[in-house]
Subunit: 334 residues, 2 copies
DNA sequence: TTAGGTAAAGAAAGCGGTTTCATGCTTCTT
DNA sequence: AAGAAGCATGAAACCGCTTTCTTTACCTAA
């Protein structure tokens, strides 16, 4: 019934014939302890299977070994596998470094909501945020010196530490592919332009055109909201207004699927009449027919990178934002 | 730079003109404190925006307010939105109850691995596990008195507290629907039979047949592994051996998609020649063409229920396993 | 009036580590 | 060879809150 009583410094010190202070030194890697005594302490620790009591350590040292992963409830947290995958990557790496992952799914909006307060009062050693629209909270926290990593690019060009997929490169590759396969008029269905990621994908699209010495007509850019419905709606509109569109880059797979549905409803086929490229290489892309050509991002790696940047900060090592490469996965749709 | 110094009992006691012990009593709802003094304390607490120091509280009281959510790394954690969604539900409810979610993505396999040790030593107040094949670890932990909730049915009929979707009911409804729409020969592509969930879905299928006064031929049951490929492979085999199959219940959406692909490769169409029902009502089901008829489970609710059962246990309230209803979402495929 | 009982509140001892400070011992300086 | 300096080590304070134990004050009963 009772969790077995754990040993404390007191018993270890006694067993090893040293003081508790020495035990502490040994366990914290203080090198100015006699070799033999240190060895003895370690032997006892090993034999007793001793592990430090987290709360006690936290209280005494002021560091909790807890890293918060803050996820905005407002995002499409539910049903989108993205964040879960990132988080698992984060968690794995943190764990390997003796850090714990504290998950907070909440409305991040308020600058002085409970989350803000919580993070502000030294309850965690650092915080990893997921892409957010408003970064007032993050900015405020950063001022307190709390180590922070943002997954996804921060809104403004600040000096926040962040990790992100190469959205620009992905958008560029997707568009380039459409052009290379012979498309003459390539449209784009953008996602949330408010986010940097959304914007960068569009930029990549423009860049691909630019390299051709052309500038895409404004009328070729449609604005969706990452949902299937919006993709379908916008594609229908685009095709109605400009029936000669023969390629489209949708900024995520869901909208791409919507676009394909729209194309087929018009009595056209994909990729013969209109080629489609998505973004994410999600399950949806992999299982659809025609298989969806899509830009793959390594989501687990994104989480791992975030965790690594956090750990580097905790060690006071210099930290650079990290941008992970994408890969175009070619299937039937383009 | 420095996180602003937080007030402690010491200053609150001074401000309110009482002892620290009294402050503690007030803050822990001990009712035998003079009304006026209590009010005074609360006023000061409010004014100073005081919040207890978690580590200190944990050290002194022995309760950490931390609930571990343990996810087995071996599962298809990556790419499957299921776990992430459950976790977000858990986290939200725990948070509302002043509990923190500690995420552990790891190999649960070993009974005395680091996770086991961690959970065993009072670092958390409870643990929520995700469906697992081997429950040796859980069984051992339960013996120590650690409150535990299992998401998904435990393997053996034990007295573990668990929450699960009504897999039996879902399988039954799916099969019934196929029969009702006129299918004469309904096959099933089972998932992992080792798990209770996988088994129950098959049982539901049998039950639907039984209600018709029939018993499905063994040859109508195929075994996949929840992957798209396995669904496609098994469906191809089924149709080759028994071309008159006109309905199939795939135990998840991915296999259902594979099945549809197989059907179309045979030159047949869904639902005209073979009707298909999936399970999960995932994004895949929602965006596929034909839209996939599928059994929906409320995944967020699953997480919320798990958290609620955990909280009930912490309060020493009586706890019953909970089975959540499913809903058949009808689209074009059946 | 006085002994006995009860309830509110303060003093103080932990909880299990970390860290400062003092101590005794060895080593270096001239 | 004596005093300064350097070091490994232990004693003890401390982190912020909980809880037991004591004290104090007030009531009731005889």
């Amino acid at each position: 019934m009772t969790p077995k009583a754990r040993p404390t410094y007191s018993v270890i010190a006694k067993e090893a014939g040293v003081s508790e202070a020495t035990v502490s030194r040994v366990l914290n890697g203080d090198d100015r302890v006699d070799q033999e005594r240190a060895a003895k302490v370690l032997e006892v620790v090993e034999r007793l299977g001793y592990k430090k009591h987290r709360a006690a350590t936290a209280l005494a040292s002021g560091r909790t070994n807890l890293i918060a992963v803050v996820i905005d409830n407002d995002l499409s947290v539910f049903s989108d596998p993205f964040w879960g995958t990132v988080t698992s990557g984060i968690s794995r790496v943190l764990m390997e470094n003796e850090l714990q992952t504290l998950l907070m799914v909440t409305s991040v909006s308020s600058v002085d909501g409970p989350v803000a307060h919580y993070l502000n009062t030294g309850e965690v050693d650092g915080a990893i945020f997921f892409q957010l629209h408003k970064d007032a909270l993050v900015r405020k926290l950063a001022k307190t010196g709390l180590p922070i990593v943002i997954t996804g690019s921060p809104h403004a060009a600040t000096d926040f530490v962040f990790v992100d997929t190469d959205n620009f490169g992905g958008g560029h590759a997707a568009t380039k592919h459409l052009i290379n396969r012979g498309c003459k008029k390539v449209a784009i269905i953008a996602g949330d332009i408010e986010t940097v990621a959304g914007h960068q994908r569009v930029d990549g699209y423009h860049q691909a055109y630019r390299e051709l010495g052309r500038v895409p007509s404004k009328s070729l850019t449609a604005y969706g909201d990452y949902s299937y419905e919006s993709g379908k709606r916008e594609m229908t509109r685009l095709l109605t207004e400009q029936p000669d569109i023969d390629g489209v880059f949708a900024c995520n797979d869901l909208m791409a699927m919507g676009a394909i549905a729209a194309i087929e409803e018009k009595g056209l086929t994909c990729p013969d009449h209109v080629a489609v490229v998505g973004f994410d290489d999600s399950l949806v892309a992999q299982t659809s027919r025609p298989g969806l050509t899509s830009v793959r991002q390594d989501i687990v790696a994104l989480g791992e990178a975030a965790a690594e940047l956090m750990i580097a900060q905790l060690r006071n090592e210099p930290v650079e934002p990290r941008i992970l490469p994408t890969e175009l996965v070619i299937r039937e749709s383009a």
